[in-house]
């Protein structure tokens, strides 16, 4: 941060990877790719590569955690040691623990928890490669994995960040923009209900800038939602084809 060697947005208004300010990174989904899990999804968003797996509903251990009226959703966000530039210790960091909590709270409103009393549903997220915005990509993938596991849901959860980079409001920050930029606002949305299930911010934004940034992030969530639905449909069309053959 000591010297601003490179500009994050060039004279043409393009970002380091050639994107326009309000453009998402390219996103690719794969659904149901882990054979042992009840549901799974893989997301590639720019250089982010993240796997999410669902185990459950199943008996909860330790048993005293079980709830008589609903299932207990547990999440573990974890980064592979090789996922970042300097090796990350595989022991869960304080950041990992906080993210596991906010990811769980972003998914919970979407799941009919009361359908499976006294059970638990585990959501395991492994970040294989990280390049900014992993909590959002994790939520997007985990929600698809929950759908793949056949767990009844009110809506999918789509997540995306927006932020401020060189005084421009941009969508879907990548690693360098996140580190050197002025602010980052990750948001998760259940689009059918206009329900914001994750909202965080760090950096400095005026009230007007914040409003603009949240709105841009919500727009990104809606775009991602369309991609999520396409990915789910594509999976079931494949299943249909296989059955017909």
């Amino acid at each position: 941060m000591s010297q601003k060697t490179e500009k994050l947005i060039d004279k043409k208004g393009l970002r380091l990877d050639g994107r326009k300010p309000e453009e998402l990174r390219s996103i690719k989904f794969e659904i149901g790719i882990l054979p042992n899990a009840n549901g799974s999804a893989y997301i590639q968003q720019g250089k982010n590569k993240i796997l999410a797996a669902i185990y459950g509903p199943k008996e909860l251990h330790p048993k005293h955690l079980a709830r008589p009226d609903r299932t207990v959703l547990r999440t573990r966000y974890h980064m592979a040691p090789f996922s970042v530039e300097e090796r990350k210790s595989p022991a869960p960091s304080r950041r990992d623990i906080e993210l596991s909590k906010v990811i769980r709270e972003a998914l919970e409103p979407s799941v009919f928890l009361e359908y499976y009393p006294r059970t638990g549903i585990d959501v395991f997220i492994e970040v294989l490669q990280a390049d900014g915005g992993t909590r959002c990509a994790s939520i997007t993938a985990a929600s698809l994995a929950l759908a793949d596991a056949g767990i009844p849901m009110r809506d999918l959860v789509a997540a995306c960040a927006a932020g401020k980079v060189d005084s421009t409001i941009v969508l879907d920050l990548m690693g360098t923009e996140d580190k050197k930029g002025g602010a980052d606002v990750p948001v998760a949305l259940m689009p059918n209900f206009d329900a914001v299930t994750l909202l965080q911010m760090d950096g400095i934004l005026s009230l007007e800038e914040f409003e603009k940034t949240v709105n841009l992030a919500l727009k990104g969530c809606r775009e991602i939602y369309t991609l999520q639905k396409e990915a789910l449909k594509a999976k079931y069309l494949n299943v249909e084809k296989e059955v017909e053959e």
Partner: protein, 263 residues
């Protein structure tokens, strides 16, 4: 706590909030009585005790010489930790910090760090080698709701009260000289926390309100009226309208708190 008691309580709280009232006769945008006392622990480099209604938090700061992070070789290090010690609540247990304590510490940390309250560049002794490390330890003594706002306030009050020892460099060694200088703290970020109950936002939730709330939202604002940190918590959701309404209420509340509490 038993979910039946919570359901009964929730009904009562919902009815009151619907009428713009609370269990303790506050309006939905009122804070409980707030008291700040600085310099309560002599052995700490800085300290403060905050009372927010019956919620009580002590923050102590300690300064040591340590190594900078590789990506910020010319900046001092800020570390915030929170302990929910078992004497503060029947729901707190001894042992390593659980996720709620970690979230609390990280939300307090984010407010101080992102507002650039501490001039970390001034804490550099030898770039890449030696810097001052500021430890901010949040100690909850009584939990009666809204630990975030009480802890954030106690943390900034303690930092404003923190003394740094004077030093000189002698043949690559840091030698401590007699006397102190104040820690370079230039901003006073204030956290404002809301609880959402049904579709109403209430400021400074008490413990019972927290037990029944759908979602929590914390907005931290610096001296210039800019937002520097936000955290949504709990398993409910918020609408865009609620979020924007909360930011506006938070701006007003921060002005009031600055007027009432001279830090």
């Amino acid at each position: 706590m038993s979910s039946i008691i919570i359901q009964v309580k929730r009904k009562k709280i919902e009815e009151l909030v619907e009428k713009g009232k609370r269990l303790d006769d506050r309006s939905i945008t009122d804070y409980r009585e707030m008291k700040v006392e600085q310099g309560v622990i002599e052995n700490a480099e800085g300290s403060a005790r905050v009372l927010l209604g019956k919620t009580e938090v002590i923050v102590g700061t300690k300064i040591e010489i340590g190594k900078p992070f590789p990506d910020t070789p010319d900046e001092g290090v800020l570390t915030v930790n929170a302990e929910l010690v078992p004497l503060a609540s029947p729901t707190f247990e001894p042992g390593p910090p659980r996720e709620d304590a970690i979230e609390l510490a990280r939300v307090v940390d984010r407010g101080i760090r992102e507002s650039k309250a501490i001039d970390l560049k001034k804490l550099c002794v030898k770039p890449g080698k030696k810097v001052f490390v500021v430890f901010v330890d949040v100690y909850v003594l009584n939990h009666d709701g809204n630990l975030i706002d009480a802890s954030a306030l106690a943390a900034i009050a303690a930092l404003l009260n923190t003394k740094m020892f004077k030093y000189e460099i002698e043949e690559d060694e840091v030698k401590i000289k007699p006397g102190y200088t104040p820690l370079p703290v230039g901003k006073r970020p204030i956290a404002i926390t809301f609880a959402k109950i049904n579709d109403k936002l209430i400021v400074d939730p008490g413990l019972e309100e927290e037990q029944v709330m759908d979602a929590r939202l914390t907005i931290t604002i610096d001296d210039n009226g800019n937002i520097c940190a936000i955290q949504k918590g709990d398993s409910g959701y918020l609408t865009l309208k609620e979020i924007l309404e909360a930011t506006k209420i938070a701006m007003e509340k921060v002005k009031e708190i600055h007027k009432e509490i001279k830090l």
